[in-house]
């Protein structure tokens, strides 16, 4: 179908070829290409040579998980690694589960806060040694049942699970009706709540918010209206400095109860010894950083203060980290030359 027009297009082309604009057009294009190539060379030579000359200093990649405390650890660690150890640092947003294979493959240098993950610990630390346990981080992770403090004041019996068992009807919502609602959060966090309400005989239905953002939004809405709500929550968490929550006592945790199958658990959550992990090659490729990570250790209050500065006071990551480092000189010094933190493996059920 294009045949008839072929002659006309060649005719057009030949007029272009003869045009006086022909030369400048081509020259301009050629010049432009040349200039781009030059730009490529000039800008790529220094950047290509600089990593090779400082190949002793690889980029350190730290994983940021979906809770703000994880980011708080990382911005402070980044600040110290960059300012005192002079390694470039990159923070990478990643889910908890993919973080394990990524650390094993060396795509990630370290994770500064790990909650439990007994199964992955067995695979990658105990099993194929691709990941190293870099010791405890300091804060104890604590999971439990919480209600807003205003509610606890109104109903002091809610201080224990027995009070919840009696007053379950406070918590009825359309979603859980005719039962009361117990609000769980992100599916990535370990929860026994469905088993707990069943085994303790409490007339609550566990509703899974599906994400921490949704759970927190729901808690805030109830909090602002001073309405009853009961939910799964944890420390360290900066939001505990914004809202006042009170913990509901569950039957005490025992190792005997922890050994039960998941569906039969009837006691409080185990304490979580939060720990750090790193790629097994890090001590060779960046020994100073590996030692820093093994020494890094602080408290829940430290972490909350940095997270609070970023999330609530809207400070930039660098500003929040710098402020913390400036006011905690001796602590930071201990991360550079102090003893390594204690190593403790996660227990079954975490």
């Amino acid at each position: 179908m294009r045949q008839p027009s072929d002659t006309t297009t060649t005719a057009k082309r030949s007029t272009i070829r003869r045009s006086p604009w022909h030369l400048p057009w081509k020259l301009g294009l050629g010049g432009a290409v040349l200039a781009l190539l030059l730009a490529a060379c000039s800008s790529s030579t220094p950047s290509a040579s600089s990593p090779t000359s400082s190949s002793a200093k690889p980029t350190i990649t730290l994983v940021t998980n979906s809770w703000e405390g994880s980011l708080a650890n990382n911005v402070v660690a980044q600040y110290v690694i960059e300012h005192d150890l002079h390694y470039p640092v990159k923070l990478l947003d990643l889910s908890e589960i993919p973080a394990w294979p990524a650390t094993a493959q060396g795509k990630v240098s370290a994770v500064m806060e790990v909650w439990g993950h007994y199964k992955h610990y067995q695979t990658y630390v105990v099993g194929n040694h691709e990941v190293i346990n870099a010791g405890l981080e300091g804060p104890m992770g604590s999971i439990g049942w919480y209600v807003p403090t205003y509610l606890m004041k109104e109903h002091p019996s809610l201080a224990t699970w027995k009070g919840v068992k009696k007053d379950w009807s406070l918590f009825v919502t359309p979603q859980s009706a005719p039962q009361g609602q117990f609000l769980d959060g992100s599916p990535s966090y370990v929860t026994n709540d469905a088993a707990l309400v069943k085994n303790l005989g409490i007339n609550l239905k566990v509703i899974y918010a599906g994400s921490e953002a949704a759970q927190l939004t729901e808690i805030e809405t109830a909090y602002k209206a001073r309405k009853p709500i009961i939910f799964y929550w944890y420390t360290p968490q900066y939001i505990n400095a914004v809202y006042h929550f009170s913990e509901v006592q569950l039957p005490p945790f025992t190792s005997k109860c922890a050994a039960l199958p998941a569906s039969q658990i009837n006691c409080a959550y185990p304490p979580y010894y939060l720990y750090k992990i790193m790629n097994s090659h890090l001590p060779k490729t960046a020994p100073a950083v590996a030692n820093f990570i093994k020494r890094f250790n602080w408290t829940s209050a430290d972490q909350d203060s940095v997270a609070y500065a970023m999330a609530v006071k809207k400070e930039s990551q660098t500003a929040a980290a710098a402020a913390f480092v400036k006011s905690h000189q001796s602590l930071v010094q201990s991360w550079l030359s102090g003893p390594f933190t204690k190593v403790r493996a996660p227990i079954v059920g975490t």
Partner: protein
């Protein structure tokens, strides 16, 4: 020139293929047994008998018999474990997949380096000249504003890494998709083989396979590109196939009479004629690729998904919305650039532009040189790779304040006259509609569900469809997620009804009044491209954690095709039909009811079909706001490393999609290419 117009062509296609239909031998007479079976009552009696026999054999108990579930979930889980165990030893993984991952990473870094050279003034200028080269001032201005907005909103660096990843992913999708589409266009067998694969790629939520992708291709760019390509390639395959198939026969005959061989025919006739469809495919690939930006961030690709996720961690809707807006703008930028160059390549448009070829060439050369000079000056003179942070501003504060105000005034029971607050509405829908529907669907005895849907399929599409639907429903039971599927089904149905109640009138309004259509168009574009993660918090603010929040999120996302296709269907009603109606003295409403709506029925049926599929695509987000169901299972699969549960639920979503798709397609209509 608008974003995400794919749905319109699906209608075109449905019609064209419908015309094609009578020629196929399948519809014409068959053996007499078949004719007997084709009598509707015979089929229904057979199916009813099947139901009764099954009921007698397995009892009338509700739900799916637990004993029949063959442990699919644990089988899938062991597959996941096997991959983990062998990723560093099996030759296929180390010698084939690992180098692919390295190559992908190199490509993304290459584009990223190039964007670094170009610098921000260079990129803005390049945008301007892409618009001008197509001879469109408005496009040029839009591109300048939109690209500058990446920096002005403070997200230049994140935008560049997303742009690099998108360029590579879209490029690969096109390079893979067009040849596959061509092959499928010439081979019915290949096409039949390909179709279920494409359905699977498009409907299986990316969440369900993120962990294996990380293990095989590692986190970051390689995994991100692979996940994006899997999700974004199907539309271009479908539309290439369609474009080539729908080249009119007489044109091909003409080509043959000139003595073209098959290859010449393809290159000189069929591909140029199909170019429009292929370009539409590219447009759809871009839209779909950008819709997985946030999910890709879960596996460490960085880019614009990060600010969205970080904003969610601290419940900051304003920040999430800002990043979401940049994603929408990027989709529009890429779309405009592709269509600008596409129109130049389109033979139908080439001569119609006023500008002579020579002047345009000069302009392009000058523009290109200017871009290079700008980049050089900016790079060497000002080292301006990154947009100056001092120029950027944040709209998050006012947005959050506004949203807080809205919640305060709309949420609580007494705040809105007559209907009550949004929490009231949510409670009503949950208690009176969603909960009972979920219960009915979940407690329905399996034989009633299987034979009932099969009967529906039989009425709509005969034996073949009855068989397919029956097998699919049984499959959901065998996957071991019967009750969660019931919850999801209830939500899908309610969201669908909401879309119809709101979408059809809006479509009619857009048909009646052009200004409404104009005003709606950008809104619908944004609804379809804004990442759903952004409105995760707002839906909870207004409707509380639960299935109503999930339904609302799905409704928002799926509204666009309902409005668009209704409008389009009405606009395509032949003028003489409408005029005849007018001459009988019908009022506008009568005309609509008696003439236009019946004539637009195929389009409306297609609208419903598309809406269902989009609602299903949104099931994951429903899982993130407490709606439970299959979406929550898939999220758990990723977040708690329960690969088996995630994959089973993901497959159930696909199967549910197939069932609803087949039950809402008209009798004669062939599968439309799902482009949305």
């Amino acid at each position: 020139m608008t974003v995400a117009i794919g749905n319109e062509t699906t209608l075109e296609e449905a019609e064209q293929l419908g015309v094609d239909r009578p020629a196929s031998p399948r519809g014409t007479g068959g053996p007499s047994v078949r004719q007997t079976l084709a009598k509707p009552w015979v089929g229904l009696v057979v199916l009813a008998a099947g139901a009764v026999v099954s009921a007698i054999l397995t009892g009338v108990k509700g739900g799916f018999p637990a004993g029949w579930v063959p442990g699919s979930i644990s089988a899938f889980s062991s597959l996941g474990t096997w991959i983990t165990a062998h990723q560093s030893s099996a030759p296929f993984f180390t010698d084939v997949l690992a180098p692919i991952g390295t190559g992908l990473n190199a490509m993304v870094s290459g584009v990223s380096t190039f964007l670094g050279w170009l610098t921000w003034p260079g990129l803005i200028l390049l945008g301007a000249f892409s618009g001008l080269a197509a001879g469109r001032w408005k496009t040029a201005i839009f591109l300048v504003v939109a690209i500058a907005a990446f920096g002005l909103l403070g997200l230049w660096a994140d935008s560049m890494s997303t742009l690099s990843l998108m360029t590579v992913a879209v490029g690969i999708s096109v390079v893979i998709g067009v040849p596959l589409g061509i092959v499928a266009a010439f081979s019915r067998h290949f096409e039949q083989l390909l179709r279920p694969v494409l359905d699977l790629m498009q409907m299986l939520p990316a969440y369900a396979y993120l962990v294996p992708i990380v293990i095989l291709f590692s986190i970051g760019n390689p995994g991100g590109v692979v996940a994006t390509v899997i999700y974004a390639t199907p539309p271009i395959i479908r539309l290439t196939l369609l474009g080539i198939r729908t080249v009119p026969d007489d044109v091909i005959e003409a080509g043959k009479s000139f003595g073209s061989n098959r290859w010449q025919l393809l290159r000189k006739v069929q591909l140029p004629m199909a170019l429009r469809m292929i370009l539409l495919g590219v447009n759809q690939v871009i839209m779909m690729a950008l819709s997985v930006v946030v999910i890709a961030s879960l596996i460490g690709t960085g880019g614009l998904g990060d600010p969205v996720l970080q904003a969610l961690n601290i419940v900051n809707v304003g920040d999430a919305f800002t990043a979401g807006t940049v994603i929408v703008l990027m989709a529009m930028v890429l779309d405009r650039v592709v269509s600008a160059f596409g129109e130049r390549a389109d033979p139908a448009h080439r001569t119609s532009k006023g500008m002579p070829v020579r002047r345009r060439r000069e302009l392009i050369a000058a523009g290109f040189a200017l871009v290079v000079v700008t980049a050089l000056v900016a790079k060497l003179g000002f080292s301006a790779t990154n947009f100056p942070t001092a120029w950027s501003f944040s709209v998050a504060g006012p947005l959050n304040t506004g949203l807080g105000w809205l919640q305060h005034h709309l949420y609580h029971y007494a705040s809105v006259p007559i209907v009550g607050g949004t929490s009231n509405l949510s409670a009503f829908v949950t208690l009176e509609i969603l909960n009972p529907l979920t219960r009915i669907a979940g407690d329905m005895p399996w034989w009633l569900a299987v034979f009932g849907t099969a009967a529906l399929g039989y009425i709509i599409g005969g034996w073949r469809r009855a068989l397919l639907v029956g097998i699919c429903v049984t499959g959901i039971g065998l996957l071991g997620v019967w009750n969660d599927s019931a919850a999801t089904l209830a939500q899908v149905l309610v969201a669908l009804v909401m879309c119809i109640i709101v979408g059809l009138p809006l479509g009619v309004a857009a048909y009646w009044w052009d200004p409404v259509e104009k005003a709606l168009r950008p809104v619908l574009d944004v609804l379809q491209t804004m990442p759903a993660f952004v409105y995760l918090i707002p839906v909870v603010l207004f409707f509380s954690v639960g299935n109503m929040a999930g339904v609302t999120a799905s409704f928002v996302y799926a509204l666009a095709p309902a409005v668009r296709l209704t409008n389009l269907g009405l606009r395509r009603v032949p003028r003489d039909m409408v005029e005849a109606g007018t001459s009988f003295g019908s009022t506008r409403l009568q005309l609509l009811r008696k003439v236009e709506l019946p004539a637009a029925r195929p389009a409306i049926v297609l609208a419903i079909n598309q809406t269902i599929l989009l609602v299903l695509a949104e099931v994951i987000v429903a899982g993130l706001v407490g709606a439970g169901g299959l979406g929550y299972d898939v999220v758990v699969g990723l977040e708690r490393d329960e690969f088996g549960l995630g994959l089973a639920a993901g497959l159930a979503i696909v199967v549910l999609g197939v069932v609803l798709d087949r039950l809402t397609q008209g009798r004669e209509q062939r599968r439309p290419a799902r482009a949305a």
